[in-house]
Symmetry: D5
Subunit: 96 residues, 10 copies
């Protein structure tokens, strides 16, 4: 089941740079782990912003919550979620 | 080059149903043609709304404008565009 | 799987009253059918507005789209959807 | 009398984690006490956000204010309240 | 139990003036009836706008919905509702 | 002359609790003094929020500014002001 | 007593041009009458928009409502009102 | 050439009161200097807010930027600018 | 003197296509005339929207109003204006 | 390929002035380097705000992201991006 997730990162300006680097590194590792597991299906940077557009493929709402709430950057992001489903005009089999 | 395009359809309530059906049919044909051409890479319905989330893959901004402005539903949609690029944490080769 | 759905009805002011009455009657019949089927779990009026707050219980995003897009009032409503899941502090077994 | 209450938690990023843990623990205890008392009728997590959707069942506006203002997280939440009442299409007896 | 109700009137520009006059006359009669019944406690015009600020005194949310939804101007108004209760700093006995 | 004034309090999360208590105490004293003087005609709590709805009765705009700007919580509030006047449908003599 | 009034004109696109011309002509006559009477103290066009910024000088809120609600364009305008008073840094005697 | 400038002051709550007093004093001196020079033509307090409505009379956009960016409170204000010009219904010669 | 002008076209859905074509043709002629006169310095399409971003180069606010208010599409556009001036980091001589 | 980029600077009020000066100096050097390279085609100050309107000319979305994310002020700016393309009414050859 697919969800569009838009994340905008807002780090506190006084966060020490080592701490920021550490959070970003574990965020990256976690994001890649979820991608390899097939849960985080697409991940794009929004050009010109510290933000991404993502497509998650999860069992249900609970798994979506589980995955997102464990993002190391979760406390520092504005997150918008939209449930997706197959579009009647889509010709792509795996986009449902 | 990828763009996220979000479209929300707002048909005038007094549009005759035959006219609406005709526009939707040509919209569907056009959308499938662009998908087959590889230009409209993803097309999802937003569950619960007359809206979609799409990913376009175009040569440049001009082609994006060319494709979207010829949508039969173009005069009846609110459209939000975000330029995308490869995310440094992405592991998917074809998502750039 | 639960979703909060907020619907605000905006009928065109020039819709003939018979047509409006007919749409509302079929909306009511459909809403009650979905409630009896256990799909539309809660349905409340927002006091002072032509709007409701609803909780849907569906198999997946696709079923949510299927059910909402067939509402007779669907073309005349603004709809906001939020995916829900069990809250860690909830004590109610059937609220997951 | 029912109210929809939507709460979004915004903890200050520099709050010590022990303090945050303590506030969350007392929030949980208080939320469960209100649920057992029948005052906090439903409590759902909004998937992907540090937020909840709740249904309160109170005597009057004053009790709603009394209960919400004593939430340990109250100073750190954005709260939206909507008064609810029975929907004419509802078939559920206890949703009034 | 008190509620602040803010109403902004938006009549369709093509409504015939006799129809508008008729609706306004019955709105006025109804508003005065509710005031005499003690239900519509205060009614002020917002200077410079076709809008009012009102205080309703009702038994519960259901009565609020009952009273507001029968306003002749109801289909032509944007309405915002806020539940009120006694302020701890208030010295006025009848403002609870 | 009447004004609707809506105040939402946003205390800095790191304000020492003694300081907050002191400000609130002088706010309360000042609010009650203005009520006794007939300047602050109504004061209600918005249920579920750290906010109030107030009706001020002042000589002119300058007095409104004078009274509000001396509120001890003034630096910590979002304030919205609407000028009010007698509504043609009002039956209450003292609401002009 | 001064008020800033911002007016944005939104004429229905299907209003006959003679009717529009007539309304605008009486609006102009009325605006100039109020200016000569000293009630409409300043009137500026917002460059690039069908909108104006105005300063009214009235006895009280009721007179403001009286004057604005009789504008021939009143049903076709969005209007924002702000009560003004003397600024402590102002050196202009007649700006109070 | 005239511009409407609306300024809302948002001082950081932890700014020492001496520093705030100093900034406000130099702001006042600077504002009065610009008024005497005929550049800051009108300056009004918005009643009930720490905000003002101003009319600037400058040579061009560059001078507007020059004057506003040197306001001592500039880093602590939200500023909205609208270019103004003579209104065709204005009867006041010096309002162009 | 430069202004950024952003225009979004919203034609009424029931405008006859000949009328729309006629308005667009005269809009194009007028836009090209202003460009040749050096008044409309830049004109770009916003990709994916019926909107443009423009840079006007005018004598003053009055000329900006004169030029924009004569656009054939003026009654059908939302327009946002921002006054521009030379940026201290700009190296381009003609961008002042 | 052109993009309109609007940047609004929001420096933390407690940033030491030396640090702010250093960031601004490197921002200026970087901005001028990009202008000389033909990447940052236009750069204007928005009069009355700590903001700019810019036109970037880049190879693709990825380069836009590369350039903007390396701005020294990037962590302290709100940034809005719009993809541009040639307008059919434009007469300027190099504005495509």
């Amino acid at each position: 089941m697919l969800f569009q997730v838009e994340m905008t990162v807002k780090l506190p300006p006084d966060m020490p740079s080592e701490q920021a680097a550490e959070i970003k590194a574990s965020e990256k590792a976690y994001a890649q782990e979820l991608q390899r597991a097939g849960k985080w299906r697409h991940l794009w940077r929004v050009a010109g912003n510290y933000a991404n557009v993502s497509i998650f493929d999860v069992e249900d709402n609970a798994e979506l919550q589980e995955l997102i709430s464990h993002l190391p950057l979760f406390p520092f992001m504005e997150i918008r979620v939209k449930p997706l489903c197959r579009h009647p005009s889509s010709i792509r089999e795996d986009d449902s």
